[in-house]
Amino acid sequence: MRRLRWVFAALVVLAAAVLAAGCGGDSGGGTLKIGASLPLTGDFSEPGTAAKQGYEIWQQQVNDAGGLIDKDVEMVIKDDQSDQNIVVTDYNALIQQDKVDLLLGTFSSLLNLPASAVAERNKMVYVEPAGGSPEMFSRGFTYLFFAQQATAPHQADLFADWVTNLPADQKPKTAAYVIADDPFGGPVAEGVKEKLEAAGVQTVYSEVYPPETVNFDAIASAVAAKKPDVIAQGSAGLSDGVNLDRALIKVGFSPKQFFQASSPSFADQFSNAIGVKNTEGIFYAVSYHVDAKTPGNEDFLAAYRAKYNTDPPEDAADAYAAAQVLQAAVEAVGEVDQDKIRDWLHDNSVDTILGKLSWDETGAPEQAFLLAQWQNGNEEIVLPDEAATSTTLVNPKPAWSK
């Protein structure tokens, strides 16, 4: 009993301390706390670490320029270990205990799904740097904003539009769809399929495979037997795309146009895994390119290169853009008022290093991804014209070279 009393007393003291700390933050002490939880360890540790770099570079730049609405920005970043339960705990703790003024999102649809629900319940604006699954935007949330150009079903829009508008003698007649059972990858391939079918391209193969598939020999063999003009694969991560490519090389079949959702964006890891010559002509969609002439990109690049001595990965740029979105809204509103920030974002567009972004009523972005293609061992943006880094387009895709 005595021990319990001590515990109780300790709790009271602790509560008072937390309360005092919270009051201190609110009373205009000159700092603005922004909280986020990122997958710094576990399955998503690679994008999670990159996102942390993006957030921190933004914080440094904002503070160097005098802060956000005249307050120093202090990022509070927790590690959710790529775990859906921990990410919920983390965002609750950020709001209840750390008393952060603003939130930024985490990485992957998997983690953003539960995390955004915590923000929504607490009526806090939630700008996420990743999480394009359609499930995100079908829940009637109003405080959620996705800071990339488009959701998963529209990731390949530029590719689909380009393919279906090819001159009659080049226009594909048949297409095969290899679709991962994944909340992001699945909708990407379904999006292409819908557009191509509407344009009269016949579907000759369309199969969903489980995400743990590594052996694509049987799939490649079946696809090759149908000799489709186009192959579109929707998947998340690197290995699915590489394993399909390798299986297609083994069977000796190369389509005229080939789109893959994620793998080709893994730079060296992709080209090393299938052989750099075999990358020629493969299409994919990206949100960011280092050579993009978007507002602020030069500053971001310089700061990133100075700090990490290498080019920023896409995930770092996406996180930086998410912070830019939040910054623009807070500056426009002039105060930390979650409802006003939300309304402003619904009514306005923001210039980011990914280009201009605006949102519909569900928080889904209304722009289009960049269409990229591997050319001569380099990753080039081919569409839209204003963002293109290469004026030529490899079409049709050359045969595999072993």
Binding site: D181, A218, S221, K250
Partner: protein, 293 residues
Amino acid sequence: MTQLVQVIILGLLIGGVYALLAAGLTLIFGVMDVINVAQGALLIFAAFVAWTLWHDLGIDPLLGVLITTPLMFGIGWVMYMLTIQFLAGKPASMSVLLTFALALVIEGVMGILWSTTYHAATPGYFADSYRPGDFYLPKTQVYGCVIAVGVLTALYVLLRYTWLGRAIRAVSENATSARLVGVNPKKVAALTFAVGVATTGAGGSIVSVLYPFLPGSHYQWISRLLGVIVLGGMGSLPGAVAGALALGVAETTTATYISPRWATMVPYALIIVVLLARPQGIMGAKLREDAVL
């Protein structure tokens, strides 16, 4: 018809690779009652070594087998001396706990040594195929099968015709009696474990060429390999081969004729069916007289 034959060829080839990878696992279980969950992690470790030899020294992964096999033998020996030997007399479930912990440690070490990004060895033949007539045979899988035949034959000869082999079989059947005729069960167990781990040297070389891998890849392999040896009959070498081939063909035919969606599930359904009909697996247990599942 052509397609069916092709699909069965692909299934048998990948099955041959599975047999190579499962051989050490079934040997270790058959003799020692140890379910070595770390076998997958050791396989990926060997793949990283093969990749490094290929990437930094230009040694072909298949030639690298000559280096990785003794290396993995040594690692197996050390692992036995430091940890596995204390499992003697404990139930097999304890071995799962211990070796799972070892698998996590090995995964962490690989992350430190080689980072958590994907690696892939791409020697000239990595995505090449032999093309007899209308068919194609991926070279990597063919080489994997050839090595599998070599490794399995060597294991068979070792068990059948050498003093060590007779000692291993004696210990697996009755450790107490084996001791009476002058066999040192601890030494035999250490050698068995090391030989079982040494097979990952060859397996890892094939894995490094077959698919891109990272430290976490061991989960996908160990689940499949456990499936192979349960299907074939735990502890039986011919059983591991039969189980591996059955699993490979089941995978490819399902992916082609039903749907890829079912391809990773059907092999496990097959295991349930086989175990209902033959609880000891396809081949029972040749190395153990008391293996009943």
